[in-house]
Symmetry: C2
Subunit: 334 residues, 2 copies
């Protein structure tokens, strides 16, 4: 039994009683595409060729949200799970090594869970470029994921041959399942921060008081959403946020009453992206603390939990990390 | 109470007991991207600019599958829900007018339900073009959806101003929720039929004996998947398939033991795309019948159910149509 089992009384094979599974989109606006040449398409094998006019109205900027509502949630606040960059809500589902993910974990712990796909990702859809998005997308490569963002191994240790990949000693990510993790990658753009923030803000406005739990790029959106509507954020849990608001531009005192948890894994010093990214987050956390907010900054290795990567919810001890988050929430009556 | 309630004993507000919600990807292969120029990106607000090398390994051709497994399914065969073109599995979730969709319907009726996002759609991700996919994608416009594919109104009746849209008389699609339906549209390509079929075949191979329920473009994939593995298809339900195998090229006798249901809505004669597309499907259904298969072809208006569009699972009588499917399955002991 891990910490979380002790706390929640849940078992990983007890059924949950579900009132409804469903989804909706928030945000988005209709735009008209014009000036594009007509095309002709065969839409199915053995089908007839038919004309396609690419001009007309499409919706852009929408975000997808899938919810699972329990028959009898133990928490009065729903848990919102916001993924990171180049990812979708799939990150919170079954882990690459086939175990139940954090969506199931927090359902079993008694929360209604809302998993979103941010603007441009997964089931949120995306808009034409360069007609609507101003640039081409970025496709995450295995090397970037392995050596830089997710910290599975040091620079130069990714290899297409699994036998020749050299992960960090003691790494908790199931590296034999790298391809399963890569299946979850989706393209991203760097020009949609404003559209995405609008959609996240719209989600909080729709749901009201919620617990926001974010990963990586989702972190800055979550921290900023709380800034835009402190009364709607019951708590904000940030797993390795890649950025944060700037205390010179935003007032941390607005967030005095919103409890904050930051969780960090291992190998941070060995990866330039994280060496560059972490100070801005530390600065915001310190500013929140100075303003009187309840802020906890958990460095897992300092607690003796070593080997965690940036993929905290996919590492082989993902339930232990979830248990730490759950305990933190429960100590605050959530 | 509608037909479906009578048949299944379910109620739309009785909780369901769920053993697990999770997901996986099937299909896909690793490819190496080369020769692309380096880029520089700022990945989050207030973040540092950092170099991005777009070259390297990505996975292409994978398909996403989300499952909900019941604690005590009434059916021994899972229900696989395969969406149509320019769509994702979201089609089977909450309807545009906010009612539970077919995913919930068949869960309440006692089936484990697997909702997929086909290759290139939604959470399946997509690959760079022209580097991997040979052409640019198609974005569904409102006009195409309204006037052609989904048959909400005749040619010339779409308008950006909702007050000026002129739907067919008696239409069952909740036209006031057109924008919510548009939120579900995702880009499509016309060059991925082979990749997509491989992924669907891999899904059936993974799950074994299953009920395949398809919509529109998913129809041809479902009919072909059954042809590739008749022993794995317990039944195939095709909602308005846009295409079908060609009996000159494929042997319908292979499918003698696979029960088939085809369901068609209203206004088909008024829309050239359907006038062109339907005969190939009719030809395949007739060939299956001639080969001795159990084939039912339901024309809803002929049963007195008028006003259904191509969005049968989103129309305001979606539960009635689901009930017809459920009754057909139950009569076959599924």
């Amino acid at each position: 039994m891990n910490t979380a089992d002790d706390l929640s009384g849940r078992s990983t094979d007890t059924p949950i009683s579900v009132r409804e599974i469903g989804s909706f989109h928030v945000g988005g606006e209709m735009v008209s595409l014009t000036g594009m040449p007509p095309r002709v398409r065969i839409s199915t094998n053995n089908g007839a060729a038919h004309p396609i006019d690419p001009n007309g109205e499409v919706i852009v900027g929408q975000m997808y949200v899938q919810y699972v509502k329990l028959a009898a949630p133990r928490s009065s606040s729903p848990m919102l799970l916001w993924h990171g960059g180049g990812m979708s809500g799939v990150n919170w589902e079954t882990t690459p090594d086939g175990r139940p993910g954090w969506q199931m974990y927090f359902l079993r712990a008694g929360f209604d869970v809302y998993v979103s796909d941010a603007v441009e990702r997964g089931r949120a859809s995306w808009a034409p470029y360069p007609e609507v998005y101003e640039e081409a997308p970025y496709f995450r490569t295995a090397k970037e994921a392995w050596e830089e963002t997710f910290r599975f191994g040091a620079a130069g240790t990714w290899h297409t041959d699994p036998a020749l990949r050299r992960p960090h000693a003691g790494v908790r990510f199931p590296v034999a399942r790298m391809e399963a993790f890569m299946n979850q990658f989706v393209p991203r753009w760097a020009i949609n921060n404003a559209r995405t923030q609008l959609a996240y803000d719209a989600l909080l406005a729709r749901l009201g008081s919620s617990i926001v739990l974010t990963h990586s790029q989702g972190g800055n959106f979550g921290l900023t959403a709380a800034l835009h509507a402190p009364e709607r954020a019951r708590a904000v849990v940030s797993l390795e946020p890649s950025g944060a608001p700037d205390p010179e531009k935003s007032d941390p005192a607005l967030l005095r009453d919103v409890p904050r948890l930051f969780v960090w894994g291992d190998y941070l010093d060995a990866h330039p992206f994280w060496v560059r990214s972490l100070p801005a987050v530390r600065r915001w956390a310190d500013a929140l603390s100075a303003a009187g907010a309840d802020v906890e900054w958990i460095d897992l290795p300092a607690r003796g939990i070593t080997g965690n990567t940036h993929a905290l919810m996919a590492d082989d001890n993902s339930d232990v990390v979830a248990g730490i988050v759950l305990e933190w929430l429960q100590r605050r009556g959530l």
